[in-house]
């Protein structure tokens, strides 16, 4: 049994040390991060998600947006993220304390979304873009998400939230396209993605 015990102790110890180093220690280091209060505006940075935003985040996860979009502005000598206007500063661990699960992402088939709420504040833009990305971004390879919208016959007056679709994208005469709850939640989540606030680091005061 000598060999087996030797292998067992070895694989146990090698794994345990890495587990302490890469899981426990960062957990201890980062577990006490808390939102910071902006005294002038009276806001929390970052703020907890509202119900609608949290639902939108759920839609973002369920449709797998994270497989093509990151949510992190890189820093250090990786300067291009800032040059592209994807953010005004490098992302910080504090920005993510309400994220469960984290959606940092691994792929930039599409652009980074850490600050999409700042870059594209228009709800209409987001709805048109989700309905068919070719409307707002011709040549995009993002899939259309028409299944988040409902096409229905106009009853009397057109709905206030109907999408302003024109040309080849417009529905037949007498019909309109309106967002479902999931589409509205997703847009609310997009608008909330905003890391433009300043973070006060310990020792900065």
């Amino acid at each position: 049994m000598n060999t087996a015990i030797r292998i067992f102790i070895g694989v146990f110890l090698t794994f345990a040390t890495a587990w302490i180093g890469l899981v426990l220690v960062p957990h201890w280091q980062l577990k006490d991060l808390q939102s910071q209060k902006d005294e002038a505006l009276g806001t929390l940075n970052p703020a907890p998600y509202t119900g609608l935003e949290a639902d939108g985040r759920r839609v973002y996860i369920d449709l797998g947006c994270t497989y093509c979009h990151t949510q992190q502005v890189r820093g250090g000598f990786y300067n291009a993220d800032l040059e592209r206007g994807w953010g005004s500063r490098r992302s910080h661990p504090l920005d993510y304390i309400y994220d469960e699960p984290q959606l940092l992402g691994t792929m930039r088939t599409g652009p980074d979304l850490a600050n999409i709420g700042v870059r594209q504040p228009s709800e209409e833009w987001h709805h048109l873009h989700f309905y068919d990305p070719q409307i707002t971004s011709p040549g995009s390879i993002m899939p259309p998400h028409r299944f988040l919208y409902e096409k229905r016959r106009i009853q009397g007056q057109p709905s206030a939230d109907a999408l302003p679709l024109t040309g080849e994208f417009a529905p037949e005469e007498g019909y309109e396209v309106v967002p479902t709850y999931r589409a509205k939640a997703l847009v609310a989540y997009m608008k909330r993605l905003d890391q433009s606030y300043d973070i006060v680091e310990e020792g900065d005061q």
Binding site: M1, H27, L104, I141, R146
Partner: protein
Amino acid sequence: MNAPPIPPEKLPEIRSEIDRSCSMPCLAWFASSMFWLIVGTIFAIIASIKMHNPEFLGDTAWLTFGRVRPAHLNVVAFGWGVPVAFGVLLWLQCRLCRVKMVWPGVILAAVVIWNIGITVGTIAILAGKSLGIEWLEFPTYAAFLLFLSFALVAVWSMMTFAQRRQDHVYVSQWYIFAGLFWFPWLYVTVQVLLILLPVKGVTQAAITWWFGHNALGLWFTPCALAAGYYFIPKVIGRPIYSYYLSLLGFWTLAIFYNWAGIHHLIAGPMPAWLVTTSIVGSMMMIIPVAAVAINHHMTMRGNFKLLKYSPTLRFVVFGAMAYTLTSLQGSLMSLRAYNEPTHFTHHTIGHAHLGLYAFFTMTMFGAMYYIVPRLTGREWASSRLIRIHWWGSAGGIIFMFLVLTIGGFIQGFEMNQASESFESAIDKHGFFGGLKQWFAGFQDRNGAVPFMEIVKGTIPYLIARSVSGVMILVGHLAFLALMVMNIHAWGRKRFGPTLFQRGDKTYTRLMTDELEEAKEA
């Protein structure tokens, strides 16, 4: 160990008894993994086509890109990769311990539980119930079934090991032992810390990538290395070159691989020390990789001619070479300078396929070419189908790796460094002049190439990737046909191994060596 060792003259008889006892459980793992391999390849092709043709199946929420892609990953990793490794390592464990399979019923139960887990997990992803954590998309109920099944296999393997009738513990067994111990621990840790009692914010990202990386390093790698260490010496009929190199390779892998993973978050919102630690771990992996590469190469030396004939050897050696390449590339990719253009691009996808397909999957194919005829008592029916499988899989993966690597480089340089797109530089200055001009702009890092131009630039590479996917699917269908024919005893009955081609003396030697083994089976 507990029972007395076996006298050598009884070995052939014992071997064939062992093979018979493994037949049902191992074939059950192989058959189910083949099913998921085909499903996973089809998901891959759907996802790949969607990347250059977003309207393809665009109105079905179930088949939107963001669901098909994780479905592909989970089906090939957990539906194909883990079960096929189970089949191979159960057989290896029995052969190397020289004991018959004990309680095959337990293993069959594990097969059923595992496949229920994969089925409900995959449906959950397509229905939008994914947990949204890469590599861990399956909902908790599916993950629990997988864990249960894994635990059965791990405990069973330890029991077999405890009954062994062979004093010497072969290097393959170290890897099997370690993999079966590491993976459940890793899986439970991440399930608890990410899903049941989630830790805060970016610590989750660290744990996710620690898992994503270690699933490869502490499970798929040990399994494929165990197979490589067994089949290369077995087919060429001579012992492994150096026992001490294999010791070195094993223990340095155990020490260093665990520490890698956080380098997936270079320059992200992570404490720098954490990322740097993982870069060090990743670079240190050069030691075990070199040890394994030298060991395999020296074992093979003088026998490369056999690659012309033996399917097992050709697939396994291809896998071993891919291991060296993918590992060295991986170490490079962890360096900040190389990481800058390649991170977040298709380059990474190419690397992932080099590891999981060219290394792991090809090694498993090689192992199955050896094991399955011994389980069914019947040789492969057609050497033409084996050739189609080889050219589809090997050709497809090489092509895919090349297009994703090159396309990813261009995409990454345009995104991070260059001040004009590759295409416009070539248009203006011709190929070589343009290339020179393009490289010269790399110091700017001004993000001047419009994002949409970068996207458009990747499309030809994405189309080529779809072509490579179809090549691989053709290979898989040929292998599926071979498996079905073998299990159902269709086709001409052959004696001795089915080889790629007939030939000279080398061929005759391989035939006789393997014939000896085959007679025993």
